[in-house]
């Protein structure tokens, strides 16, 4: 039973345009959400996060929006660059004391075309 879902396995955008990656979750106890980026043959690297007490967090070209009522978050990349081509994972976590862990989506493969 997947608690974190990324329903689009892939996305293709033109360089300079906006990339929007979506993520849905089912567990209302999640209080922390993260986006990781992964290049082939490398481990995931942290990109941006958001706490459930916020609805938006921005870091340079990357903005994450959280809609708690819809249990939905999205990652916006503006403007998209060819170097952004990678797999993007959405992950979520709930407070479980020392056992806090990340629950991951399946990822969305983003291709930014020059």
């Amino acid at each position: 039973d997947q608690q974190v879902k990324q329903n689009s396995p892939s996305l293709s955008v033109q360089e300079g345009r906006i990339s929007i990656l979506n993520c849905d979750y089912t567990n209302s106890m999640f209080d922390y959400f993260l986006w990781y980026k992964k290049y082939p043959a490398e481990g995931p690297t942290f990109l941006i996060s958001i706490s459930s007490i916020k609805d938006k967090n921005e870091d340079g070209r990357f903005t994450v929006f959280l809609n708690k009522s819809a249990k939905h978050l999205s990652l916006h990349i503006v403007p998209s660059q060819p170097g952004d081509s990678a797999v993007y994972f959405c992950a979520a976590s709930e407070d479980a004391g020392n056992n806090r862990k990340l629950i991951w989506g399946l990822g969305t493969s983003l291709a930014v075309n020059p």
């Binding site: 993260l34 481990g43 690297t45 942290f46 797999v87 976590s93 806090r100």
Partner: protein
């Protein structure tokens, strides 16, 4: 300067064998993790250790045994390998296990295990 390193990067072995994957981090982190990414690209935590103490142990067959000789190392030993163990195994580390610490989870490059 490699922050989280894993060896080997590729491992091909036959069913029934026992193998180990090693992980080392030079970030001074207290917490280390093992993740498995299966053929469907699903990334799932297997174990985590904090200061050499096991704190997360997901529903993993007991053929998998993590060992943390010190804070900088978390090795994964797998006995009696099965075809279904074929996957990419990622090691990761973080300062702790709090919400903000999850942000700074650093991953190794992965070990691709193929069981034939």
């Amino acid at each position: 300067d490699t922050a989280v390193s894993q060896t080997p990067k590729y491992l091909v072995t036959q069913m029934g064998n026992d193998k180990s994957i090693k992980c080392e981090q030079n970030l001074g982190h207290d917490t280390m993790y093992w993740y498995k990414q299966d053929s469907k690209k699903f990334l799932k935590i297997m174990f985590s250790y904090n200061n050499k103490e096991l704190i997360i142990n997901e529903t993993v067959p007991n053929r998998f045994s993590p060992k943390s000789p010190d804070k900088a190392h978390l090795n994964l030993h797998i006995n009696s390998l099965e075809l279904g163990d074929s996957a990419v195994y990622f090691c990761a580390s973080s300062h702790g296990t709090g919400g903000a610490d999850l942000v700074s989870q650093y991953f190794g490059p992965g070990t691709r295990l193929t069981v034939t």
